[in-house]
Amino acid sequence: MSTGTLYTYPENFRAYKALIAAQYSGAKVKVAENFTFGETNKSEQFLKKFPSGKVPAFETADGKYLSESNAIAYFLATEQLRGGKCPFVQAQVQQWISFADNEIVPVSCAWVFPLLGILPQQKNSTAKQDAELVLQQLNKKLIDATYLAGERITLADIVVFSSLLHLFESVLEPSVRSAYPSLTRWFLTILNQPQVQAVLKDYKLCEKALVFDPKKYAEFQAKNKTGAAAQPAKPKEEKKPKEKKEPAPKKEKEPAEELDAADEALALEPKSKDPFDSLPKGTFNFDDFKRVYSNEEEAKSIPYFFEKFDAENYSIWLGEYKYNEELSKVFMSCNLITGMFQRLDKMRKQAFASVCLFGEDNNSTISGIWVWRGQELAFPLSPDWQIDYEVYDWKKLDAKSEETKKLVTQYFSWAGADKEGRKFNQGKIFK
């Protein structure tokens, strides 16, 4: 039976894998006392044993060293946890371990860490959607399987379970969980195994999802900086911002969220590329213009638009709905417009539009002025954007002509009438 010492900060989900595996095998694992993250693992003595300086790290009783949580868990596991005698099940175990590392951990960090104040909130972050995809996959797998690999609990379950702990603790509130009944069933089964309970004593499922709190992040950053200057980053000091919200049992929580460099990189990695990236970036700044447009009168914002507009890299388009004769109720037409905006969500960063409805019930038209990066029609750039654009006639406008100026002014200020004289009724802004 293996014995040894595990180096880790408290409540490290990676260390849990090893500790749970040890519960199954009965291996005697001592968690190193007096471990201070950022100090112990940066000491010369530690680096000699574990050159990466990362935790968890394991030292066997006879003086051999192992790093990387999955390897440590494998070492401490029983034959059954490793997948038993069947090579196929063993391979499945490896498959799920890789799945946890490559699919779950990055999205979990990207979603949860900003909420805990450890990472800045990314604008237009797709972390939540990405996580939902992963959770759906897991849920589907577990509809007809009790465990992930074979018919017994294996390292596959332990590793995937450990990687999901943050999500189930911080963001998957009951109403969200109910979308993944099989996954939740499996998660609870694993959580309630006596061997798991022995390691995770105070774990509680999320009651109410955390929301982003910029103050928390600022405090964390401040603490981190002063901490780094005085003595190399001491996570103990970062406890305070959290304690307010979560009393006693969560006390040791903060260090668990301390990211290593790899996590940080993973968490920050953009999940999908912006289709506009392939086009040259001009001088026109959409964010600035949108701010001016939202905060100032049109008398100021429209001249601002023409002053800043960069005709070389951006273009102005008139989009007219092809099937105006089919439009009936005004509110339905408005839903048509907002629905299209929603489906074009990822375009927002590099585009702006004012789409107006003219006329009244059963006698109305839809048309709008669009601005985006590039000289060509933007919709073919991404398959996600091609749902609606074909029901519009698109005409590129000459940015310099007086006519265009008039049109832009009319649409941006939500005034006037369409070609047939129907009066302006409602407008929607895509920004």
Partner: protein, 179 residues
Amino acid sequence: MCDVATVQKIANCLGVKPGKVQLNEEQVVTRTSAQNKTVAGFATILESLARESKSETAQNSTASREVQAQVYQWIEFAVLYVSPGSKDKHVAKQLLNDFNKLFINKSYLVGHFITLADLAVYYAIYDLVKSLSPLDKENYLNLSRWFDHLQQRPDIHQGEQLLNFTTIYLHNWAQGTHV
């Protein structure tokens, strides 16, 4: 189902010698153990088997008094309702529905591990599940998952042919039917 064969099978699962199992003149199943002690009644026999067994399943079934009571309850349920009920078409449908619902958020009947309750219900419902068409199994995905999980264990299937649940991924194109 409170028959001789089921007792023998469960004894095998638990790794216990069944001893002499027979029906007495009142058609109640009895077991005479190696120590020449005779107990009567299905639930009582199962309890005596569990006491003699060192298997994981037996240990799980006696983990706490609460677990013990729940296990006992399911064994009684298996004898009184599952076994007779599965012979009636309408009652059987209700049973399948109820179990399927139960297994939406549970992996096992009692607690979070395999117990005698699972074994008793498994053998009681075996013939009914065997009679289901693939399409029926589609309608009871959660029950199927539980059943398939148990039958895969060698100590439980004991050489019997495994029932086929592979068409289960038909649900990919019949999504939503299983909820």
